[in-house]
């Protein structure tokens, strides 16, 4: 099967600092991949390079056959790559509906003139539907995101990632700030995405989560891939050894 996402020797330098020193892996459609590594191993840099926030210094990133090097973040999203950031990347003074459609507001012509205005009614309608489909308890899509609780805000971030039929969803520490019961909801979401054939990259420190939902695990250390194993064929101790560099 052709991979959905393929990284070939991706490198990223910030001035003299080399954050990524050659990362290669491939991801199949519907596959759930764990991206592991200690703080500073290069996980965030790698994800931001995939989503186009950073531009790779060398190497190739192919997504569904397209080379992402020439794409900006908006174009990469349009190809079907979504990321849920750890800080959620929400505009707190905008309402729920606006956040869900951020960067992709549908427009309509104003009074038939060649003036394009944001189609507010459609945004609210579709945001409402998405929130309901996710079963999220957000009182109204007109609430300002800054007025919502942390869990509700995460629901908004998730809704934003899922509204436009993504092919790959990257989640950065989605369970780090949640209570035990809420964690189970996130893991169930990951399984549901897999059932729908959507690939997931899960960045997490919690190995129990990884072993619960992931097919494969990749370990980064000092900007390199040091391990790429099938979760069913490895153990937590082996993974930990890779992470800390004792393996």
């Amino acid at each position: 099967m052709t991979p959905l996402l393929e990284l070939v020797d991706v490198r990223k330098k910030f001035g003299a600092v080399e954050a990524l020193r050659g990362v290669s892996f491939a991801l199949a459609p519907g596959e759930v991949l764990a991206l592991l590594g200690d703080n500073g191993a290069g996980k965030s840099t790698l994800m931001k390079t995939i989503t186009g926030i950073h531009r790779a210094s060398a190497g190739r990133i192919l997504f569904a056959g397209a080379d992402l090097a020439s794409h900006d973040p908006g174009q990469i999203r349009a190809l079907g790559v979504e990321m849920i950031y750890q800080d959620l990347a929400l505009a707190r003074q905008q309402d729920v509906a606006s956040n869900i459609f951020l960067g992709r507001e549908p427009t309509r012509r104003f009074l038939g003139l060649p003036l394009h205005v944001i189609d507010r009614a459609r945004i609210e309608r579709e945001a409402e539907a998405m929130i309901r489909r996710l079963g999220a308890r957000v009182p109204s899509v007109r609430y300002r995101v800054g007025d919502l609780s942390g869990g509700q805000q995460q629901s908004v971030a998730i809704a934003r990632a899922l509204t436009f039929a993504p092919k790959l969803v990257i989640m950065d520490e989605p369970t780090a700030a949640l209570a035990v019961r809420e964690v189970e909801h996130v893991l169930e979401l990951v399984r549901e995405l897999k059932r729908q054939g959507i690939a997931v990259i899960l960045i997490s420190h919690r190995l129990t989560d990884v072993f619960a939902v992931c097919d494969r695990a990749i370990v980064l250390r000092q900007g390199r891939t040091v391990a790429d194993e099938r979760v069913a064929e490895t153990s937590m101790n082996t993974i930990v050894a890779h992470i800390v560099g004792a393996g």
């Binding site: 174009q75 800080d87 951020l102 308890r137 009182p139 995460q154």
Partner: protein, 330 residues
């Protein structure tokens, strides 16, 4: 299937805001404006009339248009300190074009606007691409644009504009001053731009959370350049109106107007730290200052008391806002 909230969800409070007018109107501003009008109606028999209302609109037009410019920039968590100087520069360029170069009057308008937009474009390029803080860039432009206006004119006002340009500042079709018409029309256009288009929405999002804007594919640099160019363009327009009103391109026109413009935006409920801004709010903020100034003139209040009154109203409006917010939290 998604994390639903564990405990009961406390319904978050929506601040006193008037959603359909851009979601950022402070009712407090409107209350202050209405109270001010009531008080002045009682204090002066000349205040409450159509003619005086038109006078207020005329007097507020230049500052108000600069206020709209600063509303966009403030929305994006930026600041434009060069507005007053760019106003002076735009007016001078327009006056020079028709008066010294002898070009037909439409060129005066086009060149005046272009001069303003050019200053704004340079501000935008330096902020967005060179990454210099807006405060520094526009402070520099404050000096450069003012200096350029003085150099171009040798420090002397360019007196005498062609009749169509003067009409722009002094005409009264159906008894309504042209600057007042332009002022209200621009309020409608810029309100539309800020509240209904992607350009306006993204300006607010950049000011709210720049990382979120980048992550969702918004072209932050391009948008910033657009915002500062718009700001300069509006300042150039205000400069042309100023020049038309006094029939001369004055290189010292608009000194310190940027501060009044920013004050109007803040009075109207815009957040100086970005993410929340409203043109209608700024319109109300500018009118508060215009009405107050008009009232003080009608009452012939001496200069020292005028400064005290203006300062007091500013503090009152902001205090009302804070009081309302803290009550909401409790």
């Amino acid at each position: 299937m998604v994390p639903s909230e564990a405990g009961a969800v406390a319904a978050p409070r929506r601040g006193l805001s008037w959603r359909d007018l851009g979601g950022a109107i402070r009712l407090e501003s409107l209350v202050v404006l209405v109270l001010l009008c009531l008080a002045l109606s009682l204090l002066s028999p000349y205040f409450l009339s159509v003619a005086n209302a038109l006078n207020i609109l005329l007097a507020t037009s230049v500052i108000g248009i600069l206020g709209f410019a600063s509303t966009f920039v403030i929305a994006s968590a930026g600041i434009d300190l060069s507005l007053g100087s760019v106003l002076g520069f735009g007016g001078v360029v327009g006056a020079l074009a028709v008066n010294v170069l002898g070009l037909p009057w439409p060129f005066g308008i086009v060149l005046g606007l272009a001069a303003g937009a050019f200053c704004g474009l340079i501000n935008g390029l330096l902020v967005a691409l060179a990454g210099i803080p807006a405060f520094i860039v526009t402070l520099g432009m404050l000096g450069v644009a003012r200096g350029a206006a003085l150099v171009l004119t040798g420090g002397q006002p360019i007196y005498g504009l062609p009749a169509p340009l003067v009409w722009l500042g002094q005409g009264r079709p159906f008894g309504v001053p042209v600057p007042a018409i332009l002022f209200l029309a621009l309020a409608a256009v810029t309100h539309f731009l800020l509240s209904r288009t992607r350009f306006g929405k993204y300006a607010l999002v950049i000011g709210d959370n720049e990382n979120a804007a980048r992550a969702t594919g918004i072209h932050v640099a391009r948008l910033r350049i657009g915002l500062y160019t718009l700001s300069g363009l509006l300042a150039g327009l205000a400069g042309l109106l100023f020049a038309a009103r006094v029939n001369s391109g004055d290189p010292t026109a608009g000194i310190s107007y940027e501060l009044t413009a920013i004050t109007a935006a803040i009075l109207g409920g815009s957040n100086l730290f970005g993410g929340r801004a409203s043109v209608v709010g700024t319109l109300i903020g500018a009118l508060i200052m215009g009405v107050l100034q008009n009232g003080l003139n009608l009452l012939a209040v001496s200069s020292f008391y005028q400064q005290m009154a203006i300062g007091s109203v500013l503090v009152l409006a902001v205090w009302l806002d804070q009081w309302n917010r803290s009550r909401g939290r409790a």
